[in-house]
């Protein structure tokens, strides 16, 4: 499980390695050369590619379940282009893409897992969310493949820990993100707000100003209840005075009825009462909620940095900035962020072509950073990459956010990446409820605690 120690390593790693705009160190330089070589000429030297060539006569189909259905997004292009490239270089291998939207993929994978029929490559979320699958022995350890050509060293130090159990790495992340507040500079100017809020009180005040001007203050799509939880966890990170609240609860050092949690619920309810969210937020799904911001109808959006590319591709491109979530009641450090290590690619332990699948994933993961960089999707990459954002024509927003990455001092994982699924579901719906009715904060805390104890 993810523990505090891992988080510290991760923090260090972030500060050290997030220098996206800085050319990567010599080590990873070598790697990218290696990768380039192996992709261009698969039959040369490298041990990993050698196994490949010996089997090149065998026809193999690799099923690749993925969650990138939208043809206009960089991620979609990345998956398709890399798969095609690999097929071209390995005529005996066919990559069958099973493309689903996120929710459906979750259900499908669970059904498949229950009948022990996991696709060759699938997608899982880190830590607590992938643990049941690992415990069930469904995923193959990837250590050998990671060591094979130095792929492991391309990942930011500590990042792979979120996907490791008992010393084995079981999945390779597609990125590594933090949660930030995106804001629309034009709408802020229109409402006469000069500076971005640095305290929660200022944020509330801005919410009211924006609301009075008829602008939706905060975009959200709370039909997918994780969105509200994301925002809430930012507040909890502050009221707790730092990361580790959920870990403390799990270690039995705190309960959900701790003042920090109740205070966070209170603060969250203040936002709701101030009219921060769009009307009917709980019937809007996550994408549509994001669109409220991306179409210039909402002033702020609390979401992961993975949306940077999409914001830059939307109609508000160029008008958007980003800032850290403010302190709450004077507590917390703005440079502590909610951390969102990406969805990750895992390989089925029962795959009929385990070696071929690992070889492909190795190729895929090695080339992913370069491809993402080309596709202007390098913000929130989990791997080191050569290249200068500014020189490559990235937007100011992307550079701002890359800058925020450099300030990360620590943080927490999302609720459902930390707690077991049953407790998480209670939490998600409990937060969703705050959007539609005023609750006694202590009762909300108690509801959490009851669920936690019932599902230990």
């Amino acid at each position: 499980m993810v523990n505090r120690k891992m988080k510290t390593t991760f923090t260090v790693a972030l500060t050290a390695a997030m220098a996206l705009s800085v050319a990567a160190c010599g080590n990873s330089n070598d790697n990218s050369k290696n990768n380039a070589a192996s992709s261009a000429a698969p039959d040369k030297t490298n041990s990993g590619t050698a196994t490949n060539t010996t089997k090149s006569d065998k026809k193999v189909t690799i099923t690749f379940q993925n969650i990138y259905p939208d043809p206009t997004t960089p991620s979609y292009k990345m998956v398709h282009e890399l798969s095609e490239q690999y097929e071209k270089e390995h005529p005996n291998v066919k990559i069958e893409l099973d493309t689903l939207n996120t929710d459906q993929q979750k259900v499908k994978l669970k059904t498949q897992a229950a009948s022990k029929e996991v696709p060759d490559i699938t997608i899982v979320n880190p830590a607590a969310q992938m643990k049941p699958f690992v415990d069930a022995g469904l995923f193959a350890p990837l250590n050998d493949m990671l060591d094979q050509n130095g792929l492991k060293d391309t990942y930011q130090t500590g990042l792979l820990d979120y996907y490791s159990f008992d010393g084995n790495v079981y999945a390779l992340p597609d990125g590594n993100n933090i949660e930030v507040v995106f804001y629309n500079k034009d709408l802020f100017a229109q409402a006469g707000i000069a500076n971005t809020p640095t305290t929660f009180e200022e944020m509330l005040k801005d919410v009211k100003i924006l609301k009075d001007k008829g602008i939706t203050p905060l975009a959200i799509g709370e039909k997918d209840s994780w969105t509200g939880s994301f925002l809430f966890m930012n507040i909890l990170l502050r009221t707790n005075g730092g990361p580790g609240f959920l870990q403390d609860v799990m270690d039995g050092k705190k309960t959900f009825e701790d003042p920090a949690f109740v205070e966070a619920v209170d603060a969250f309810q203040q936002l709701v009462q101030a009219g921060a969210f769009p009307d009917g937020a709980t019937s809007i799904d996550a994408n549509a909620g994001g669109n409220i911001f991306k179409s210039g109808k909402a002033a702020m959006w609390v979401i992961g940095s993975w949306e940077t590319g999409a914001v830059d591709a939307s109609s508000v491109a160029g008008k958007v900035g980003a800032f850290q979530f403010p302190t709450v009641n004077g507590k917390g450090d703005p440079n502590e962020f909610m951390l969102a290590p990406g969805s990750a690619f895992a390989v089925s332990a029962n795959s009929e072509h385990l070696q071929e699948t690992k070889d492909f994933l190795n190729f895929f993961a090695s080339n992913l950073p370069k491809k993402q960089f080309e596709l202007k999707n390098a913000v929130g990459l989990g791997q080191k990459v050569d290249g200068d954002l500014k020189a490559a024509g990235y937007s100011d927003l992307a550079i701002t956010i890359a800058g925020l990455f450099n300030q990360v001092k620590g943080g927490d994982l999302s609720f459902d990446n930390t707690m077991n699924p049953a407790t998480s579901q209670v939490h998600l719906s409990s937060i969703q409820n705050l959007f539609v009715q005023k609750m006694d904060s202590a009762a909300v805390a108690k509801e959490h605690q009851t669920a936690f104890e019932a599902n230990k």
Partner: protein
Amino acid sequence: MKVLKVPARTIAVFVLPCLLLYVCLVFIPILVSLYTGLLKWDGLTSAQFVGFGNFKDMFFNDPVFWPSVRRTLLYAVASMLEIPLCLGMAILLNRYVRRGNTLVSIYFTPVILSVVIIGQLWKTVYNPASMGGMLNGVLISLGLDSWTHNWLTEPKIAMFALYFVSLWQFFGYHLLIQYTGVQNIPDELYEAAKIDGADGFKADRYITLPLIVPIFKISIVLAFIGSLQAFDLVMVMTAGGPAHATDVISTHMYNSSFMSLKYGYGSAIASFLVIVCLVFTGFINTIFNRIERKFN
């Protein structure tokens, strides 16, 4: 009535292929589900037999369960109440319109559309006025601002908004059944009644109603089963939210199994659903058999 006496082998040829397929793919799976309902199982790691533990949790410890049962039953009642209305329409159609089939076909169209389309459509109807929701827009233009609501997100209202969509969608379905039933009553009966001085609603009372009972029953049973299994529409429009305010039995089952990873518990809910369906359908059948006997 049953005239043909045929060898057992012939019966087997006629019945077995379908029956076997059906038993293997519908019956056995549901029996498996009944069994997994007795397990504490996340669908992944090894299961643990807990007997009726899941049912105990369901009945006594789950704050979501009973409200979702209540909503489901209310759903069923609302759908069943729609049917007399459909019958009334059907009688009027039969009396006033010569080629009623065309109208009925038009009424039927929502039934053939996929729930995805219907969900999208009604979401735009129910949206807040600020997002261009039609219903609120109409209310405001009528000066009824105080009647506007966030139809899909106010916990007390959302479920009724969903009931309404469902009633709207299946209006044509039940009307079709009732209409064909009414049409099927031989004209001679009405002509004979006319001679006896029974016309219009009087004829309906003494001829239509008694003869329509079996068809009325079919509609009721279909409406009941349909609303107990109502799933897609709720999923598309609210996914059971906000905060379970629109959860029905089937969405609660689905969320427990696949979102909370409590597969055994979800199966227990499924068992409950199937049992309720069986019991109530039996109940409805008995009532209607009584009514039919009374009429004959």
